[in-house]
């Protein structure tokens, strides 16, 4: 980057450029046709004078048209060749100098296709979009971030993806060469090992130091990310190797072939033992959390449940089981279980134990939710990537059979093992469970409907009404609920007819607030390409972390119906601080708000409809009267069907 000193090319890049000029490189298989290069000495030195017209033309003109000025194919062009072999459709990113070489190659050399660059206003949004996108398509996106500061912005989203077992390919620009990188800001933004800050919650990371190493790293990274348990990977990408031209030194460049890895299935001995326990159980219960990776996983779980006539509790980090099926049940059913099969549970301890946050001394109380001798079976691929620092592995739960394996990949063998273990007597006994199960399911639905009717006409609008008005407006579309933090008392999962895998994409994984808005935009992008209708229940606190993703949705014409659950607070914290005050025997100080100071989002109220409008959305609000909600939803649905995003700012009850 610095100019020549005493006629000696002091810059490593100039040196390499020189080398490229000296050695012809016709044999480079992936290298574009040789371009006539401008010798380094002929190029102007930096100058404070205004540029001449000729100079401007040279700066803004297409270098390919007038001859390649860098003396060979750019390293980042080859990187684009590599990336294109992996069929990554989009790269939602916030632009930054440390990956400018790759950025330029992607949009110009790569023609901004596979991946297409999507403009993000925050790195957390880019990661969140990739997170949501994967949950619809099963395919990872790549997001580029600025070394250090950009990666720092991205971290919470990466943690969510890690906890949610979602692959994201992070390319983090970094200028490693301390002798030649630009001084000042770019040096502030460089680090020896930028991946260090996310190493605790990525599956793998690397720092390739040559274009060839990048090819190996990129393909390996994609493979690691896509091997269950899935997870984010990060590549620290030196600015130098992006910008330097390929030279003679790189003449044998190759792109390794990617082969989709098969998921790890449970060992047959353990599978048979699990089947034996299940067929001999009187009250087996299946609990699924991230069991169904794909639509096929839902079908497999239905098969297993029907074979055993076992109730299924869907904990909802994915859509695992149709809630319209008569075996679908609320969590309370585990109290009678004699065998519990846990499929990809993010918290087995919390599933079978109770915890009451009632300690006067700040300590909660543990209890149990199951009978003493209940046998526990776990199939969980997450056990294959247990790390030390962050506690996403939850409290240790002893089980009777532990299979560190992918549940969906293990289910076919388990189904076969159950079939061959079942005796005729057992089959008869199992069939005897059907009527009881159907009645329990119908009764539970009636109870839910009665509960939903309470405060139906209230203002602010009840969460049940919010969700059922929304359901009525979208149920005839090929719909997909692309985000909801569950803090609407979980009404969509209780009352919407969730039957298909894409009807619900699950939660954030790490519960890092700020996931909802970008994940819903990313999933809506995926649904757009599949011709589906996307709807989200968007909470106010979540949206305010990085609302710029609204602009990204409008900018890239991503249709999404965002119905706000605007309870004007970070309401979980409202309750936490209230709890503390009560334990300490103090009335809570609300200031002028409706919740303890520091927990409300009011005074002034945020006009989310105006915020959305200012970023190119169709929007309406604040809607406080429940009678206004249905008509507004109708309008909004029409807008979304025309291809635009639409937001309704609805004032709601707290939960």
């Amino acid at each position: 980057m610095t100019g020549p000193v005493d006629g000696v090319p002091t810059n490593r890049r100039n040196f390499l450029r020189g080398a490229a000029l000296a050695g012809a490189a016709p044999a480079l298989a992936t290298i574009a046709p040789a371009q006539a290069a401008v010798p380094a000495a002929a190029r102007p030195l930096p100058s404070a004078l205004p540029p001449t017209a000729q100079r401007i033309a040279a700066e803004v003109g297409n270098p390919e048209a007038e001859g390649n000025r860098i003396g060979g194919k750019a390293g980042s062009d080859f990187m684009v060749d590599v990336i294109k072999t992996l069929d990554i459709k989009y790269t939602p990113s916030n632009c930054a100098s440390s990956f400018r070489g790759l950025h330029e190659s992607l949009i110009n050399y790569g023609e901004n296709k596979s991946p297409e660059y999507l403009s993000c206003t925050h790195e957390e949004s880019g990661v969140g979009m990739a997170h949501g996108y994967f949950k619809i398509t099963g395919k990872p996106l790549m997001t580029m971030v600025h070394g250090t500061v950009g990666l720092q912005h991205a971290t919470m989203g990466i943690y969510n993806a890690f906890c949610d077992r979602v692959p994201v390919i992070i390319i983090a620009g970094n200028d490693l060469d301390a002798a030649y990188r630009p001084p000042g800001v770019p040096t502030f933004h460089s680090a020896q090992d930028i991946n260090a800050i996310i190493r605790d919650y990525t599956k793998w990371d690397d720092t390739p130091v040559s274009p060839q190493a990048f090819a190996l790293t990129m393909v390996r990274g994609y493979k690691v990310a896509m091997t269950p348990p899935f997870g984010p990977v990060s590549i620290s990408l030196d600015a130098g190797i992006q910008q330097e031209p390929l030279s003679e030194h790189h003449k044998d460049l190759y792109i390794p072939k990617f082969t989709m890895p098969s998921p790890p299935a449970g060992e047959m001995g353990a599978v048979k033992e699990a089947a034996r326990l299940l067929v001999n159980a009187e009250n087996p219960v299946i609990i699924a959390d991230r069991s169904a990776r794909t639509a096929e996983g839902v079908g497999l779980l239905v098969q297993l449940a029907e074979l055993l006539q076992a109730p299924v509790v869907d904990q909802g980090n994915r859509m695992n089981f149709p809630n319209t099926h008569y075996l679908s049940r609320a969590p309370g059913v585990i109290s009678t279980a004699d065998v519990i099969l846990g499929l990809e549970l993010s918290d087995f301890w919390g599933t079978v134990n109770a915890y009451s946050d009632n300690g006067v001394n700040g300590i909660g109380e543990n209890g149990t939710k199951i009978k003493k001798n209940t046998k526990l079976i776990s199939i969980n691929a997450s056990e294959l990537i247990t790390k030390s620092n962050y506690q996403d592995f939850q409290r240790f739960q002893p089980v009777d059979i532990a299979m560190p394996a992918d549940a969906q990949a293990t289910l076919p063998a388990l189904i076969e093992a159950v079939k061959s273990a079942l005796t005729a007597d057992q089959k008869r006994a199992i069939e005897g469970r059907i009527e009881k199960a159907k009645k329990a399911h119908a009764d539970a639905r009636n109870r839910e409907l009665q509960t939903a009717a309470i405060a139906w006409d209230a203002s602010p609008i009840s969460t049940a009404r919010l969700c059922m008005e929304t359901w009525a407006a979208i149920k005839d579309q090929d719909w997909s609920l692309v985000a909801s933090e569950g803090n609407v008392s979980n009404w969509p999962n209780r009352l919407w007819k969730m039957e298909k895998h894409h009807h619900w994409i699950g939660r954030s994984g790490g519960y890092g607030v700020g996931y909802g808005a970008p994940a819903s935009v990313g999933a809506a992008l995926a649904n757009r390409d599949l011709g589906r209708f996307s709807v989200s229940i968007q909470s106010d606190g979540d949206l305010m972390f990085a609302p710029g993703v609204l602009w990204t949705a409008a900018r890239h014409k991503i249709p999404l119906l965002s119905v706000m659950h605007n309870n004007r607070a970070w309401h979980q914290e409202v309750m936490h601080v209230q709890r503390m005050a009560s334990f300490r025997d103090r009335a809570s100080n609300y200031g002028n708000d409706l919740g303890p100071i520091g927990t409300s989002i009011m005074n002034p109220d945020i006009e989310y409809h105006k915020l959305a409008e200012s970023m190119g959305w169709w929007a309406k609000g604040p809607i406080k009267d429940p009678a206004d909600l249905g008509p507004a939803l109708k309008e909004a649905v029409a807008v979304v069907k025309s291809g635009q995003p639409a937001l309704l700012n609805v004032w709601t009850q707290p939960r």
Partner: protein, 113 residues
């Protein structure tokens, strides 16, 4: 912990006999229900939800409600008389009883199926 619970229940039992003397004021009760934080977990209408039980049209007697609020050692934090008086809880009770009875879901088109 266990000792605390026994103590709390004893205290609560003492209150049972003292409370429920006069009928509360529903209007005042609404304001207190909000400003003392009950609405946070139970909803503005006492309708309940994922964070608290339904309280509107509660089947509990008034002194039962007061005893619960004073003595709870489960998922709800206790509120002593230092935070909320018996008279205020009587007003809250009146507010909760004044809430309209929920309609039969069959009469609400969106809940009819």
């Amino acid at each position: 912990m266990t000792n605390f619970k026994i103590f709390a229940v004893t205290v609560a039992a003492t209150f049972i006999s003292l409370s429920a003397a006069q009928a509360g004021d529903a209007e005042k009760g609404k304001a207190t229900f909000i400003h003392k934080g009950c609405y946070e977990c139970h909803g503005f209408e006492g309708q309940g939800g994922s964070a608290g039980l339904r309280l509107s049209n509660t089947q509990l007697p008034e002194d039962g409600l007061i005893a619960f609020v004073r003595g709870t050692s489960g998922a709800m934090p206790p509120f002593s008389s230092k935070i909320i008086s018996d008279a205020e809880l009587s007003d809250i009770y009146a507010y909760l009883q004044s809430r309209p009875k929920p309609a039969d879901p069959k009469s609400i088109p969106l809940l009819a199926n």
